[in-house]
Symmetry: C2
Subunit: 586 residues, 2 copies
């Protein structure tokens, strides 16, 4: 038996007990006649104590050979500590050591196994198994486990059944790029790894499963941005005989359950915002509503006064940076640089300061009188001490730029506390999105998303009006991050055919790609709707972080590489031959 207790559970009440602990050496303090060893496992840290004359010479000697991260087994007696450590749960006791076994030695680790490590990112990724020994990462994965457990518990309670859908599926050219898997038994043919179980979950609705969910691995062969992974996990859900309202309520229920069980937080009904309002007031379909600072349009007030930049703009839009009238020239220049960065793309930034003394100062005083500017300040609800920040240009572009600026101001003013959780539903997304490059409409969500019944007739109008069609599609947003989204699906074959034609599919191409689903729809498809949460992201937000990487046990880097296992790697010629493929390197 390797242990009687873990390193996290002994308390003063255990004093006098003979115990056996096993774990890793966190540190050794050798004071000559006295020696302490901190032993660590997943559950905590316990202090071992040796004293010359009390402990045997052999044990003392062995203790002096220990290095960091050695794996040891310690036998001894629980005693009360002389100098207690109130910072750890075992801080009132220590173990008077009688016997010490070295179970395994360790080379000196390349970085310290402490909450704040001295290891750089690359080194920590290479030795991920050592990085995972550190509390922050360990706790992230325990949090992830708890979120999964609570998700399953809630959904099962609600009558959902978890059904595993295949990983080796049919490749469909629509959407993002598939990872593919050559089939040895079917030479020249390939499986794809699923980008989501979308079609299978819809088939399960046709099959009458009524309420389906799955915590499921998905794959996307994309050029990876900073915080994307080629494989990621979704909480994937679908329900039959429901309307949008049922879906929102069910998954708001899930989110509330998770907040309560994992974070101990209770919420009222989540607010809802139309996509149109989200764009108008926040310039984003995932507004961070932890802070206000809504967009205010000044176009009518700002135009016609001879300032050509505003006069030539589709829109002039302001945010009110509360209490920022005291910003220095340098601070404002920095903001101007910020909005002019290529990632934001604005041409410049206009400010209007409403000074504490009631005076008004702006970068466009030449064109506007204080009275003019006062009307702007009033519309923005500014009071003395505030500052307006103003951008102008094409409507969508300007809104997106202002979104960046608003978030930056939120950061600067400390309004984006990761422990302050503000969920939001964004609803009524557009059904279709026009793509300038290919000169066609694309499904904003996916081709199975239903238009709002009251907008459906617009599909029979001129294509120019299609952009107005709203979908029964919704996203759930937390602190400015989309954590989930879904839609009511089309379950009527005629409407689905019309939708495919709208998206530029011929009947043949639609049949080739989605034939099995469309065929299934001919055998009594029920009305259905669904939603998927990004599980990695959800966990990272619950953990108070925006990056998902440290909430995944073994993530890949931006080149899709696992630097620990050195994967991907070349494979043997014999393997290629069996698969009847060969390399064709450029």
């Amino acid at each position: 038996m390797y242990r009687t207790h873990t390193c996290g559970e002994l308390r003063l009440a255990d004093a006098g007990k003979e115990v056996v602990l096993s774990g890793w050496v966190q540190r050794v303090r050798d004071k000559g006649t006295l020696l302490w060893i901190d032993i660590r496992d997943r559950y905590g840290l316990t202090q071992l104590f040796l004293q010359e004359g009390v402990s045997s010479a052999e044990v003392m000697e062995k203790a002096r050979t220990l290095g960091r991260e050695f794996v040891i087994q310690a036998k001894g007696t629980v005693i009360e500590r002389e100098s207690k450590n109130p910072n750890i749960p075992t801080g009132e006791i220590e173990i008077q050591l009688n016997e010490l076994n070295i179970l395994n030695a360790s080379k000196t680790p390349p970085f310290t196994i402490e909450d704040k490590s001295d290891g750089g990112d690359d080194l920590r990724m290479k030795y991920r198994y050592l990085d995972l020994r550190r509390n922050p990462l360990k706790n992230n994965l325990i949090l992830r486990h708890n979120v999964a457990i609570e998700t399953r518990s809630y959904l099962s309670e609600q009558g959902f059944i978890e059904v595993e859908t295949p990983c080796l599926i049919k490749s469909t050219p629509e959407g993002a790029r598939d990872f593919v898997v050559p089939s040895r038994m079917n030479p020249g043919e390939f499986y794809a790894l699923p980008q989501s179980p979308q079609q299978f979950k819809q088939l399960l609705m046709v099959a009458g499963f009524d309420k389906y969910f799955q915590i499921v691995r998905c794959f996307r062969d994309e050029d990876l941005r900073a915080d994307r992974q080629p494989e990621f996990t979704q909480i994937d859900c679908e329900m039959s005989f429901v309307e949008q309202e049922d879906v929102l309520n069910t998954f708001e229920g899930l989110a509330k359950h998770l907040f309560k069980k994992v974070k101990g937080l209770e919420f009222d009904k989540f607010p809802r915002m139309t996509w149109h309002d989200a764009m108008k007031y926040y310039g984003s379909d995932k507004p961070d509503i932890r802070f206000d600072m809504k967009f205010v349009e000044l176009t009518d007030l700002a135009q016609g006064k001879g300032f050509p930049v505003f006069d030539d703009s589709e829109i002039v839009v302001a945010i009110n940076a509360k209490g920022c009238a005291s910003y220095t020239r340098k601070q404002i220049d920095a903001l101007t640089d910020f909005v002019k960065r290529p990632q934001v793309g604005a041409k410049g930034l206009v400010y209007v300061k409403y000074n504490e003394d009631g005076s008004i100062k702006s970068s466009i005083d030449k064109f506007y009188s204080p009275e003019d500017l006062k009307t702007w300040l009033d519309r923005c609800g500014a009071v003395a001490g505030d500052m307006l920040l103003i951008l102008s240009g094409k409507t969508m572009e300007t809104r997106e730029q202002m979104n960046c600026l608003r978030l930056e101001m939120g950061n600067q003013l400390g309004l984006r506390n990761p422990d302050d959780y503000k969920p939001l539903w964004v609803i009524d997304f557009p059904l279709l999105e026009w793509d300038e490059e290919t000169q066609r409409y694309y499904a904003k969500h996916h081709p199975f998303t239903a238009p709002k019944p009251e907008d459906e007739h617009l599909l029979d109008e001129e294509p120019s009006r299609w952009a107005e069609i709203r979908a029964n599609a919704y996203d759930i947003v937390l602190n400015g991050v989309e954590i989930g989204g879904g839609s009511v699906r089309i379950f009527n074959r005629d409407l689905q055919n019309k939708m495919f034609r709208t998206l530029g599919f011929t009947d043949e191409s639609a049949q080739a790609q989605f034939g099995f689903l469309m065929n299934a729809f001919e055998y009594g498809a029920p009305p259905h709707a669904g939603l998927a949460f990004g599980f990695d992201r959800l966990c990272s937000l619950f953990g108070g972080q925006e990056s998902i990487r440290d909430f995944i046990a073994f993530p890949k880097n931006n080149m899709g590489r696992d630097v620990m296992t050195e994967s991907p790697s070349t494979i043997a010629d014999a393997q290629l031959e069996e698969l009847q493929i060969k390399l064709d390197l450029k």
Copy 2:
């Protein structure tokens, strides 16, 4: 709102309520002035009732247009049925129909959606979404969901953390064939899909996770036997600071929990059998102990009496078929044909009947006196009315043949009831297995399995003695089917190196394949051990069936094809080009 109730929940106590149901038309019975519709959903079946004069003409007319599997919404009043159906929970009521909406029509399904369908296997696979509407399949997947829920509940309760390990991993040539995934971002390189998370779970032990589990998809590119799938699911587990006994107790606990929660069955301590005894008494490392019929060796009694077949055999082994003395010539001939089938491979079958009248009759009366044969009967514990069945030849082959015969006799005598559950631990597997073809030893379990400490010294002896080395490896067997297996792992680098050398690896080849794990072991690997259950198989046994296919929502056929989605399939040239591979078809 599509429904107020499901089709499975209304009872007599609900009489008088106005309700709305949605579901599929199971059948319509039209008696002219009276008309009944059975409406079905996942939860059950409810009868709708229409009556000329009471129901509106419009509703009557619409009801007459319904076909099987139409999706309808029915509004009406719950009333007590005149002729009750005690076979279904809703059998005391029906719905007096006021309003009927056809939500979706259906083509006539290609087979009946009944518990016993008229559809052949191929048709049912092609229309899997219709097959899944049938109760037997639906219930299989609900059972699977429940087994998963209870597995997670038990293991979490025991302090296990579910950690998701990657699906895109490094290919290792050892073991079964990997599915590989070309990496677009790393041209010429490939990921592999995991055959199991073996190395990652060992890394998690090095990382100090202490108790890990995962219900995880695994992949194996094998030529598929009848009941194998290219992707399958495991309950994968690993623990630190444990010995074999801890692992057996923990997972026996899991199995008992599942039996209790899913099947309502309670068990005493599971019996244990060494691999050596399993082979000696059952000729199999997965004995079906629902029935006795153990092997009895008669070699010493049978040899030296002039019967050359036995005299030239390494072993003569019998089973006692209780009560089978009445078997006819024809029945015995059929058994002889059975053992001579190539899948079994015996040369012939000897019987000894102990007739009810006390006389003895055998196929070898020429060589053995009744007194000789009586000693055989006595050793086998046979009484009047029993019959011995005897095979002989090389030891291992004969035992394997006798295993087939024993299972066949179990079937014929009705001793293998799928609802009778008899779990068993098989322990002390050999560490190594000699392969005649390649003239080397292979790891019986895998190269990380630890030898029993008391046998470890044999690794330093002549290779001829290595076959004697027992491993700390164990299988859990249920009703003659292996449902899980695992081992205590090697955590000491020196022993691991020795093991690799024993398996014919050079230091370089071991480093190339397992380097990251071996490196990790240098930084304080704890003693650890684990086990994995075959989840699909476990579910099928709980469902009382031996085939896993109907416990997987969307399985593949023996060619690895999904005939519903027609996958795998060819992919576009552009996709191949991006991946920098090309086809090389023979």
